[in-house]
């Protein structure tokens, strides 16, 4: 058994020698932060549920993180893992057993202490098919998962509560992403008695160990969070109260922000008002820009002629004028040349990809036997700006002779077409594009580029399946030792480079996040574009006008 000091995944040699979990640097709270005050956030859509096993959308993702905690978390504003409800952890040399030591004295909002049994219960619950969790698949590497998923067992045989403060996970394979999996919302810890009390309505009566607790939920109108005075992380949260106002159009939210009625419009700056905001120095100063674990891409169905020919796919890659598309969306993105976004570990900075080159694209197309181009279909989601982007792609393709007709459909219909092997020759992914569930390069592979996703109803819309790369991916994910994480990232870079040689996608851009906040909001900028807490990190921000 080796012990890895979890807070510093770079695992300093000194700490390894000491073999203890020392006080963690990230426990330090922003010394400038002021305590107290209330803020208002707006959203357009209803918050579906605050059940960590189920919630999987833009609004509730960060809310759930503030109500519940997991064994692991990330340092605020970064993608750096740290233990959270766990105090420390150990990984066996074969990478198949993870043992977590839990913090003592962590209390649920109902006052009861959280123990290892709660962790086990929460994982049994999220993997149980009756829960219908969209995140159940993340736990596939835990021993006994298949039996639970098939309804043959109620409990994961690979999860054992050794004692009230120790929980052990046995995996069927070494899984380098497991610590990330212990940080996603789906693994957050829930108290059994409250889940049983509310049944299917637990999502409307959430009880966790998080920094805030739910104070009020008026359906369709507002949700109010109140500071959890017993939060185990001393000094957090800074705010006393957060009010989420629901049903506010982004444009109305912006007007209200300008009048000082709200603090953060959760859905961001509406596209129609973007230039106006950015041209006003006063407002621009309150915009925080950050990367996002997102890539927008064009898929080409590798099983449908003529896209079964790699030269055609490469030609498409060279034909797309990404700079123009980025300009078209007011520079709210950066051009992409590979599947991974720049802020993702494993992003290959040296990789140049396919440069925009119409002549070369035409030559490649001729080599592939289509000197005069061909006719095809491009599917895209029907909400702005996606039809406009699809038109730009259509024009770029026309320049090399490819006549693409645009099928502009509702999101669910595009997803359905992509999941049908003969459904869509090309899809522009905008509006449905991949945003990572956790900051690890593997998360961009399996469901969208691996063989596992190339199934009817899957998300691998290019139907690209390279068994060799699947094996390499499995190999990379078996490198569990955090000390070798750089090697592992290199392995992943190589996998994505090979994918780009096969060109099942034409990556177009990586969206940037632009968070607009009121003048009274305080805290480091990276809290407002936190890669994990989308849109903002509610636990760590504060207001400047209290006391």
């Amino acid at each position: 058994m080796r012990r890895f000091l979890a807070s510093t995944v770079a695992a300093s040699a000194l700490a390894l020698m000491l073999g203890i979990a020392s006080a963690r640097a990230d426990d330090a709270v922003d010394p400038n932060a002021k305590q107290g005050g209330a803020i208002t956030i707006t959203y357009k859509d209803d918050v579906a549920t605050l059940d960590p096993a189920i919630g999987y959308d833009w609004q509730n993702w960060s809310m759930i993180k503030s109500l519940f905690d997991g064994l692991m978390d990330y340092e605020p504003g970064t993608t750096k893992l740290k233990p959270d409800l766990a105090e420390s952890y150990e990984i066996s040399p074969d990478g198949k057993t993870f043992t977590f030591k839990l913090r003592h004295g962590v209390k649920f909002h109902n006052g009861r202490e959280m123990t290892a049994d709660d962790v086990k219960y929460s994982l049994d619950r999220v993997t149980n098919p009756k829960t219908q969790s969209p995140g159940a698949g993340f736990f596939g590497s835990i021993k006994g998962y298949d039996d639970v998923a098939a309804g043959k067992a109620n409990s994961l045989s690979g999860v054992t509560a050794v004692d009230p403060y120790t929980i052990k996970f046995e995996l069927t394979r070494p899984d380098a992403t497991f610590l990330h999996v212990m940080a996603i919302n789906f693994s957050h810890v829930v108290p059994k008695e409250e889940v049983e009390k509310y049944g299917a309505d637990f999502g409307k009566h959430p009880v966790g160990t998080g920094a805030f607790k739910l104070a009020e939920w008026t359906l369709g109108q507002r949700i109010v969070f109140e500071r959890n005075p017993d939060y185990w992380h001393k000094g957090l949260p800074h705010l006393d109260k957060i009010t989420f106002e629901i049903g506010q159009e982004p444009i109305v939210a912006l007007l209200r922000l300008q009048k000082g009625e709200i603090d953060v419009p959760g859905d961001g700056i509406p596209p129609a008002k973007f230039q106006e905001v950015m041209n006003d120095p006063e407002q621009k100063a309150r915009v925080v820009v950050g990367g996002q674990l997102h890539t927008g891409y064009i898929t080409m169905n590798t099983t449908m002629p003529p896209f079964d020919n790699v030269k055609v796919r490469q030609a498409v890659n060279m034909a797309i004028n990404k700079d123009r598309i980025v300009q078209m969306i007011n520079n709210r993105a950066v051009p992409a040349n590979q599947p991974l976004p720049p802020s993702m570990p494993g992003y290959d900075k040296a990789f140049k990809g396919y440069a925009y080159d119409v002549a070369k694209a035409k030559a490649l197309l001729a080599e592939a036997g289509h000197p005069d181009g061909f006719e095809t279909q491009l599917f895209a989601m029907n909400t702005d700006p996606n039809p406009r982007i699809a038109q730009a792609i259509q024009q770029d393709l026309a320049a090399i002779g490819i006549k693409a007709s645009i099928q502009s459909l509702a999101q669910a219909n595009v997803i359905a077409a992509g999941g049908d092997k003969s459904g869509a020759p090309m899809i522009w992914s905008g509006g449905m594009a991949w945003i990572a569930d956790f900051p690890d390069p593997s998360n961009f592979y399996g469901p969208i580029l691996g063989c596992a996703g190339a199934v009817p109803g899957g998300w691998n819309w290019s139907w690209y399946c390279n068994k060799d790369l699947d094996a390499k991916a499995a190999e990379a994910d078996s490198v569990v030792d955090p000390a070798k994480s750089a090697d592992r990232e290199k392995m992943w870079s190589a996998i994505y480079d090979k994918i780009m040689a096969d060109a099942p996608w034409a990556p177009v851009f990586n969206e940037q996040r632009f968070t607009l906040k009121s003048a009274r909001m305080g805290g480091a900028d990276n809290l407002y574009v936190d890669p994990v807490h989308i849109p903002i990190n509610y636990d760590n921000v504060y207001v400047k006008d209290v006391q």
Partner: protein, 306 residues
Amino acid sequence: MIAYLGRRLIQSLLILLGVSLITFALLYLLPADPVRQIAGRSATPDTVENIRRQLGLDQPFIVQYWHYLTKLLSGDLGRSYIQRSEVTELIVSRLPASLLLMVGAILCELAIGLTMGLIAAVKRGTSTDQTLMVASFVGVSAPQFVVGLLLLYVFAVRLGWFPIGGYGSWRHLVLPSLTMGILGAGWYARMMRSSMIDVLRQDYMRTARAKGLARGAILFRHALPNAILPVVAMIGIDIGVFMGGIVVVESVFGWPGIGQLAWQAIQRVDIPIIMGVTLVSAFAIVLGNLLADIIAPFIDPRIKLR
């Protein structure tokens, strides 16, 4: 009367049944797969099938519809796929807001429409009449989304008289009611004008004038009550128009009614909510029409219930 009511009730039930069947069939034929939406991107095919089975979506259409119908008859509209709450609870929690907005809209359209129609009839043929009729035409044709945002910008953002969207006080109610009311006001102005002109031509109006009654007394005591009744009887039919309008207006103003609920459900293919809101709306429209028909003969004895 009783026989008429019985017949109309049976007709109404058949209409509702038809609406439920057609909506259910359309949603069934939709190429989008709700199970995929629930299961998420990381789900294995097994998980997807499991959820499909639990929701009964692996059953043939007729079986699914039958299950829905039998549950519906016991008042159960099912559970939302995305929100995982009872659809009845979601609708009930939002219905008061929509009803309030509807009352506000009716008051607005009557106040504006009837006034405009009255003035136009009295000033018939003048430029005032023409201006009012053009205005009513604009009111009928203007898209509610644009009207809503325009009112919001002028009266809430610029002048600050009303809050910028939201719900809670009478001040919140004014702008969304006005947005909905402007559409109906156009109709009412035209109907009121022709109804009033019709009345003003009647013999008893000439008699009243011959008696030497003051102009105000003629208009408000004799003409108005006769002209207004057939117009007011149209309110029941308005409900159908409102049901379409609330989807847009509630979204613009952040009004927490069932229109907003429907709009979100459509975007997320949340079939139980779409079904529930459609049925509730259909019920409201059928009820509105029924009431209008029942009230009509009391207002105008020439109409008989048969």
